[in-house]
């Protein structure tokens, strides 16, 4: 990082486009970003810092993205977009540092040494996002609604809800479903053919355990949920408890929308 650059905090709309626009502006204006603030994240904006707004501009964002792809390949450009979804607090600055080094290095060789700390940290962030997508292929729980719909509530660490589409589209063929991210308040509605982004206005579901009001669920839903809870508790072998391993594989923060982990249903 060059010295004596002006420190600026960039505010953007939370989208990748917005972020890349901010990155573009920072390069153009030769500033040193002190942070990137997603406007919707409700963070405190420090008074002392210079603030600049970066209204998402598709053309500018595309130039950053293309620049990455040209220097380091399309796969790497995808990797950065994956890392951008990370819920990790400092991830945007990590990506910024990565981009600075990449654009300083005409042949892109910098990013091929994955043991360089600036490369490693971004790769790890992307890796954690990918791992969470994989975890949620298992941790999503659908409930059948009275009108024949399938609904699932999730609360992942990273912004991954749309990355779940290919897996569940493949698994359930023409069946319509909604997977909704409770924390980010957005979801995916798959209508049996295509997927759509949705924001639900009236939330009928419970944010504390993901259940729907009794009138809204299908008749047999409760029955299968109970069978599953019984199954879950009956397959554990009491002589060999290993809570430590269970919690490492399925951290407590994921439990609230898993029917088998809800207390009060135990045998």
């Amino acid at each position: 990082m060059k010295p004596n650059r002006e420190k600026v905090a960039y505010v953007f709309d939370g989208s990748l486009e917005g972020f890349y626009t901010a990155v573009f502006m920072a390069f153009r204006d030769k500033t040193e970003p002190s942070r990137f603030l997603a406007a919707n994240a409700g963070q405190q904006i420090p008074l002392l810092e210079q603030l600049r707004h970066a209204p998402a501009d598709p053309a500018l964002a595309a130039r950053v993205d293309l620049g990455v792809a040209k220097r380091s390949g399309a796969k790497n450009a995808c990797m950065l977009k994956l890392a951008f979804r990370s819920g990790q607090e400092d991830v945007l600055l990590l990506i910024w540092r990565y981009l600075c080094r990449l654009f300083d290095c005409p042949d892109g060789s910098f990013c091929r040494n994955m043991l360089d700390p600036d490369v490693w940290d971004v790769l790890q962030a992307a890796r954690r996002v990918k791992r969470e997508v994989h975890r949620f292929h298992g941790f999503v729980r659908f409930r059948k609604t009275a009108d024949g719909f399938w609904f699932a509530l999730i609360d992942p660490d990273n912004d991954i809800v749309d990355l779940l589409i290919p897996h569940f589209r493949g698994r359930y063929a023409a069946r319509p479903w909604v997977i909704y991210d409770a924390r980010r308040n957005r979801g995916i509605w798959y209508d049996g053919k295509k997927s759509h982004d949705v924001v639900l206005e009236n939330k009928a579901f419970s944010l504390s355990d993901g259940t729907l009001p009794p009138a809204a669920v299908a008749d047999d839903e409760e029955h299968y949920c109970r069978l599953w809870q019984h199954y879950y508790h009956s397959v554990s072998i009491a002589q060999r408890p290993n809570q430590r391993q269970m919690k490492a594989a399925m951290p407590r923060r994921y439990w609230k929308y898993l029917p088998e982990k809800q207390s009060g249903h135990r045998q």
Binding site: N113, R135, R175, V235, A249, M250
Partner: protein
């Protein structure tokens, strides 16, 4: 109706749980191990991954295997699903994304053929009526007609035939109705038919698949006097000759009132089971041969040390390893370095020296690795200790103990 299914589920899930084939005990996560791409839908209180609905079709059994809860001489509640009930249950669980598929096993009801026909029917209903695309693992019943085994192979993703007891002599002693040929005949058949199907599909991509996910088996450990060397030798042969995908090891747990033919154990030999899984991993992912892990003289795995560490201490001439130059196979043998780290080292060392900070970053267990690598930043003395000294130091710190599951 609903209550009836609930009752059956209770009895038949409970009876199935001692079969550990879904578990990955001994090889849990982390540590750069190459984990199978399977999806875990939940984890039980004993730390195992729930991926499949693991259940018995029935726990009635006409046989009397000493080590089994379902043997006919036990007085237990018995139940049997109908094929429709079990197919329905599986389908509904799958639609809610509770499970990835079905792991279907059974006691022997009426006769092996009768039972196998029922199992095939469950799977046929699932595949044909429910258009079920999930994963199906089926047990073949020892003694069932080869035609029924063939039908099963065309419906299921994976088949398994459990050997249970590692030598025939002991098997016959504990399970009078079984012998090795009742196990190896179907195993060889499955291997043969899967091979034919693979060949056919090269010519005609639409040719039917036969057990595309291969076959596996289970061995019970500690019920009989076989050594770990015998067990690993058997497993190694199964991987090579029958081309098994997995061998599972299950620490013997007394589930029946005492029988003089079985040892009286207070607890299942969990540490030993874990060591066997680790040794198995060394064979499958770390290029170890079974006779490098153990031999006739050292025929039991060390319970205090993981097998990779034990191997390194027995072979001090291989170390210290120079990470900047050594071949991949040798790097894999360094305790504390896993498959993922070894690959990263290979791919990145041309960019610069692999030092302590790099090793730490990729998660190498330096507390163990430090004694086996040459590295400028480490006190030179570490790599020149005698094996006995290293062992003392590691044991004092509790390294290599069984609490740490993801070793290497």
């Amino acid at each position: 109706m609903k209550e009836k299914v609930l009752q059956k589920l209770r009895v038949l899930a409970d009876a199935a749980k001692y079969d550990v084939s879904c578990s990955s005990s001994g090889s849990s996560g982390g540590g750069g191990s190459t984990r199978s791409a399977g999806i875990c839908h939940s984890f039980t209180e004993d730390g195992r991954c729930i991926s499949l609905l693991k259940i018995l079709f029935t726990n009635h059994c006409i046989y009397d295997c000493t080590y089994c809860v379902n043997r006919r001489s036990n007085d237990r509640p018995r139940a049997a699903f109908t094929a429709k009930e079990l197919a329905g249950l599986t389908g509904e669980f799958y639609r809610r994304n509770y499970i990835e598929g079905l792991f279907l096993s059974s006691g022997v009801m009426v006769s092996p053929d009768h039972t196998m026909e029922r199992l095939n029917e469950v799977v046929r209903i699932l595949r044909q009526q429910y258009r079920f695309g999930g994963y199906i693992h089926m047990k073949t019943i020892p003694g069932a007609d080869p035609l029924l085994v063939q039908e099963a192979g065309l419906l299921a993703d994976r088949l398994s035939v459990n050997i249970e007891i590692p030598t025939e002599q002991q098997l016959i002693r504990l399970a009078p109705e079984k012998n090795f040929s009742s196990v190896f005949r179907p195993m060889d058949q499955i291997n043969r038919e899967a091979g034919i199907s693979r060949q056919e599909r090269k010519k005609h991509p639409k040719a039917p698949r036969f057990a595309p996910a291969g076959q596996s088996t289970q061995l019970i450990v500690g019920a009989t006097p076989e050594t770990d060397f015998t067990i690993l030798k058997l497993a190694s042969g199964l991987y090579r000759q029958q081309q098994l995908k997995r061998v599972y090891y299950s620490g013997f747990m007394p589930v029946n009132s005492h029988d003089a033919r079985l040892p009286a154990l207070q607890k299942p030999p969990l540490v030993r089971e874990n060591r066997l899984y680790q040794a198995d991993w060394l064979m499958r992912f770390y290029h170890f041969r079974f006779d490098e892990i153990l031999d006739e003289k050292n025929s039991q795995l060390d319970l205090q040390l993981d097998p990779k560490l034990a191997h390194a201490l027995r072979n001090p001439q291989l170390f210290p390893v120079d990470l900047d130059k050594a071949p991949y196979e040798l790097i894999l043998r360094v305790p504390g370095i896993g498959v993922r780290s070894a690959r990263i080292i290979m791919a990145n060392r041309r960019h610069g020296h692999i030092g302590l900070s790099q090793l730490k970053r990729m998660g190498v267990a330096l507390n163990r690795a430090r004694y086996f690598i040459c590295c400028r930043e480490l006190p030179a003395a570490a790599a020149s200790l005698y094996p006995e000294q290293i062992k003392q130091r590691l044991l004092k710190k509790g390294e290599g103990q069984c609490r740490q599951l993801a070793l290497f």
